[in-house]
């Protein structure tokens, strides 16, 4: 489903140049849940950004369902991401001027999916926020915001879901609830999950755990 070959990424130039990823090779199967763990600065968030097409690699290839992300133009990546990927960020990242319902609706209507409104309402119901649909992000708690973000990420039934420390900004109890929900939904929809986390317990809820150290897989 996803194949990463000799992926390299560095930041800065000259003496200040830092090589964050040093030739990553990785294969991810469809429906697999994969946890990327590692210390701060090990390059796991950078790897996730490259896999989700949020940034460009220096060299190497990322192939998803036979499409090479690294050779696509920026706009092609954007369109591909909209149709095939869902992303959950650590800081929720909801569009501040859209309500909870509209945030979920956004990726669906962007792809002009049929019954978008109904799907979004159902998803919001599934994450337990049906009554909060017309609330703006500023009126939601952290846990609620993250549940909206998950509903939005899964709305288009993506081939692959990227989650970057999704419970990192939540208290333990809320974090657990949100992660339970995430794993349930991923399982129900058989979505491939790539999860970046520090939390070893959380990582072990995934089928596969990969350690990243100084930009290389160990």
């Amino acid at each position: 489903m996803m194949s990463i070959r000799n992926l390299r990424k560095s930041y800065g130039t000259g003496e200040g140049k830092v090589e964050v990823l040093k030739g990553i090779n990785l294969e991810i199967k469809s429906g697999e849940t994969l946890a990327l763990v590692g210390k701060s600065g090990s390059g796991k968030s950078t790897l996730l950004s490259l896999m989700a097409g949020l940034d460009q690699a220096d060299t190497g290839e990322i192939i998803i369902n036979d499409k090479n992300l690294t050779t696509m133009k920026e706009n092609e990546v954007t369109i591909f991401r909209a149709a095939n990927m869902g992303i959950v960020f650590q800081q929720f990242h909801l569009v501040s001027t859209l309500t909870a319902l509209e945030n979920v609706l956004l990726p669906l209507e962007l792809l002009k999916r049929a019954n978008a409104y109904k799907t979004a309402t159902e998803l919001l119901n599934a994450v337990g926020l049906y009554t909060r649909g017309d609330h703006l992000p500023s009126q939601l708690s952290g846990g609620e915001s993250q549940r909206v973000a998950m509903a939005r990420a899964l709305a288009i039934r993506p081939a692959i879901l990227f989650a970057d420390e999704p419970s990192g900004n939540l208290d333990e109890e809320t974090g657990d609830k949100v992660m339970d929900l995430l794993f349930t939904m991923v399982a129900e929809t058989n979505t491939t999950l790539v999860l970046v986390t520090h939390d070893t317990d959380l990582a072990h809820r995934c089928k596969r755990v990969i350690h990243l150290e100084h930009g290389s897989l160990s």
Partner: protein
Amino acid sequence: MIFRFFFIRELKKFPVFFFLLSFTILLGSLGLTGISIVSQEVREKLQSRAHELLTSDFAVTARRDLNPKEKEVLASTFKDIPHDHYRIVDIYSMITHLKAQQSRLAEIRSVEPGFPFFGKITLKEGKFSAEGLFISKDLESLWKVGMGDELQIGEIKIKVAGIVEDDSSLGLRGFSLAPRIYLPLKELERSGLLRPGATGSYAYHYRMPGITPARLSTLKSSIYKDIKDSGVKVVLPEDSSEQTGRVIENLTNFMSLSALIGLILSLVGIFYLYQSHLLARLKDLCLINLYGLSKSAILLGIIGQFSAIFLFVFILQILIIVPAYHLIMPTLSESLGLDLEGGINFKSVLQQLPFLYVLSLSILTPLLLGLMRTPMSTMLKAAKISMGRFRFYDFIPFVLLLWGFAWYLSNSLKTGNIFFFCLVVVFLLSTIIILGAQWVLRRFIAGKGLLMPTIEAGVAFRNLTRSGHKLTLSFLSLAMGATLISLILQLDHMIQGELALDENRPGLFVFDIQEEQIDELTEFSASQGTPLEAVTPMIRARLQNINGKKYVRKKNTSKIRNTREDDEENRQRNTGLNLTYRGYLSPSEKIVEGEPFPVRNSDEERLPLISLEKRWAQRMGLSIGDLVTFDIQGVELEGKVHNIREVKWTSFYPNFFVSVEPGYLDGAPKTYLAVLGAGFKQKKTEFQRSTVMKFPNISFIDVEEMVGKLSTLFQKSRAAIQVISLLSLSVGLVILYGLSHDQVYRRYYDLALMKSLGFSSNRLRLNLIFEFGTLFLGAMGVGLFLGWLMAQLIGKEVFKLPFSVNWAGLLWPGLVLSILCLATILVSSWRAVRAKPRELLSDS
């Protein structure tokens, strides 16, 4: 630490912010400083020439010759003071160039030997004396009249003895009604032009070597004590320069208000720039607070930083203005007809500086208070750092200072108030419109999906309704900027239109017609195919009592500067007035309060009824039912105010502040005014010449020529105002960039997010165009409309101008500004739209 943090590191780290801030302050205050410098120079030049303008140390003037008793007062006042004196009589009359067989109006200054005590009349050839006829070089070029040519003045014929090249007693060249000629006073007396009621001024001038200004003031008081007629005025050198400077003063006051518009826009810009900057720096500010720097020390640092920038900009301004002033000085001297010199006095600029600084600083008050309300120590733990909110009332100090500054700059409580309240009305109307539009839009999008019909538009509509007060403020700033630009353009159009040729306007304005000449002149003009119209008597009078209380000469004892209304009231109180009697309304007047004069029963015993011009009545505090007593050449006439009229003065029909019901003043000594209809352009010159030959004392004003003169004056003022308007517009554009940049900065986070969710760069741009295009077009539409509305109100109330629409003045600025706004948004958002989503998300 404060110095290092706020002055060195900040400057190094945010050069763009400091550049934009300095540029905004510079553009906003440049106009005001420039105007201040130029008006100060003109004022000083006129003051330094005060003695030359008056030509003596002391003058006693009246619109009639002094009576024997008044002459006795002067004789006894100056009895023990060594002095020289002469008389000057200034009248406007027709003169005829006999060789060319042409007649035209001239200002005849008739003088006695000794003139001038101060200053110099320089001739092209030869030397000036009070014994010959000398004409101005303007008349020479207009008429091709030269030395030795014969002119007819009244009943005398006299040869030109010289051409005046330079006349130090002229204030602002080009601002006079007609070219000036010098004639010996004894010749004027022979000419037969000094008939009772002739339009002129009689002055007794004195030179008193070694006299002190204090002594002059004592003499002035003493004469005022002994001569009660407020129509007799004592003029000191400083009064003379003040009169001349009033034209410039009024112009600069209005220009200052136009420049204030630029300043307000720049203050909005400063507010936004600092808001964005403080938001970007908030994390660091919270950190230095955490490490021990108190909030008040942080505020002090910000105020100090702003003050330093303000001072730097002020110095920069001076460095720009000094060479610029030298560059425009020749043009300015030419336009004003005043020989300005190289040196610049910064007194007025330095006087203005504290006001400007405090006003500019006051716009930061809401932000500084918002910073004070920020829980800095806990903010670092929050998911998203945000500044404490400022409240509506935080703007009160700024608003009050702005009001005060409008008074100061306009030198008029009335104009300052009108300006300020217009701003308030525009602000309130714009607020109502944007809030109303947001309410309607909210209703429209409720319960609907994002496709309206495109997702870009759907998201844009939501942003427009949910972006809170920042978007409202952007709308208001843009709308107010557009209002002010539109106001300037529309008023300009209206005044231009008013000065354009009007077929209904009379061709000639006739004055100084003696009573016994009326029938003959009417017959004569009818025989020439140009019948006399609007024949109106004019009677010289003096306001004596209001409701039985004596109306006295007002002493100006105030040490502080007078407002324009004070000066106006003093002038009204201290001068006599001309009134008329007529039972009908001229085509250029209408009753706005009260009823027309009723038909009078001949045996009815009652006070005469009086009609007053609206603004004059307001100035004098008169209303319907008030009793007013006039002294008409020694005879008292008491009347009752019966109605109030509005008069369109630019019609050039004979109109008066005071009109008395017919039947009471028919026997009073008077002259007549009349007009001759338009449409006889070719015959106009011939008609004037033949009338003057028959009636030498009658004078004409060529209305077309007069309007042309006014138009030229207006063009000069307009050019100056346009420079200021352009400056304001430039400030507006810089501010626009700041606003757009700020709006995009706030959207960085959402833009990045939408990109990560699948919006391509083009779709993001389209979304921005939808959102800001609607905002800008709305703001422009509202602003341009309100500016037009204000122009109509001001035009109607102040200038009595008819309703008009300058479509080009509405559409072009609207189009240009909207395109510029959108271009600004696209430029500002270029980086955000093109950047990688990861980069933006980490930035946020």
